[in-house]
Amino acid sequence: MNLGSFNRARKSKVPRKLVQQIGFNFIRFITLITILPILGIVVYITIKGAPAISWEFLSAMPRDGMRAGGILPAIIGTVYLMVGTGLISIPLGIAAGIYLAEYASDNWWTRLIRIAIISLAGVPSVVYGLFGLGLFVLFFNFGISIISAALTLSIMTLPVIISTTEEAMRSVPYKFRVVGISLGGTQWQTIRKVILPRALPGIITGIILGLERAVGETAPILFTGATFFLPHLPSSPMDATMALPYHIYVIATQIPGMPIRIQYGTVLVLLVFVLAMNLIASVIRSRSRAKRQW
């Protein structure tokens, strides 16, 4: 038997405990470095942006060339875009995810669909923006509008929702499907009454993460739905809208004499928006994990 390495370690002058200690501390340090940026961003933005936050800031229209007043239209616009994107991408994404997990057989056609979904997730966001401009704004003639922007964001969100739905469905053991069928259920009845409820927390998490990404994006709405300034709130899905990410870009680069306070305040609002969604997703995930019994 070869005990070479074992013997070598025994003979080493540096105690193994110490080596381990150093190793652990090194890894701990690296981990700390990775969370520093996000911590820094949150703390810095909060300190700089908090003074700008007031009821007026959240509930009033901008005044004085957006140098004063509130950011209500940008907040409302972002909510509209999120709701619109959700209305389109959630039903489509869940349906596609269920189909891929439960019904699709493994052939070249479904493999192609999967590759397409993965590729879709890797497309740069500005490309979505240009695609939306070409297809929804110009070809379908929806114009620069909430509907064009929501459709564009939906294409971007779909891969996330589809793959998390498929994943969540697959994580429910196959045996429950056999039992459901054996008790006289159809495949769909079994999915609806047994599998889907178990997969739902995972699906909701995916939806939130997908929408969160969409809400924070600027490029896809740049050419499709966002507008520089709107004196009133959008009144129909065919209207253009202001939105937080694009508004941040505008007030950061396009308006001379913009108070820095308002810029940070707007960033803080978007940050809270996105982090809150993230938090909700994490809570749902950990609670469902705690409740799982099989």
């Binding site: 039992v179 459901g180 069928i181 054996s182 008790l183 006289g184 009845q189 009454k193 047994v194 019994q293």
Partner: protein, 253 residues
Amino acid sequence: MADVKISIRNLHLRYTDGKYPLRGIDLDVIENKINVVFGPAGGGKSSLIRVLNRLIDMSDVAELSGEILLDGENILDKHTDVIALRRKVGVVFSVPIPLPLTITQNISFGLEVAGMKDKKQIAERVEKALREAVLWDEIYDRLDDSAYSLSGGQQQRLCLARVLALEPEVILLDEPTSALDPVSTAKIEQFLEESKSQYTFVLAPHNQQQAARVADHAAFFLQGALIEQGRGEELFFNPRIKETIDYIQGRYG
């Protein structure tokens, strides 16, 4: 001789991966009896059970031929209503697999998918099934708890109860006590003895002692072939064919 409930003729089953578990089976399942199919692992017992309520449709099957007459109708016919068949021929698996739902929902699932809507009627059927499976007295006060809060033996009786709720005629049991302790096993066997006047049981027993204890009619399976069948006592205490004798005397398996 009692009536034949299921008559199996020249049944062949071959999977797409090349496994060939059933090679020309001829077997009679006797009505209102405990019909035991036994033999060493891999002999085709589980596959036979999966064929009898067409759960086999969920597997990749290359060949399924022959005839299975249930009350004179061939259930392998392509026009067979498999959903109705599965309500008529229930199955209990070797390990308890409660659905990840409440105790009540585990039983009401089968009723609801069958189209039963009346809440009161469903509740009655749930209670009746739980009583029949000798589980009601233990759990009547926590029907809305998760089915996974039950012990293993209780879970398996719950799995039996949800089959009984559908008022089946035939109940297939694929080594139903293999994951259970002796007390739970005895409860299941007691249920079989007491209720065979209402049902026809097909049981793949968990071991030979169980087979000998409960079998009214028995069939010995070896490597996809049916070697010998007959009345329970006869087969276990007076087998005629060499393979059966060897198996029962413990020479293999």
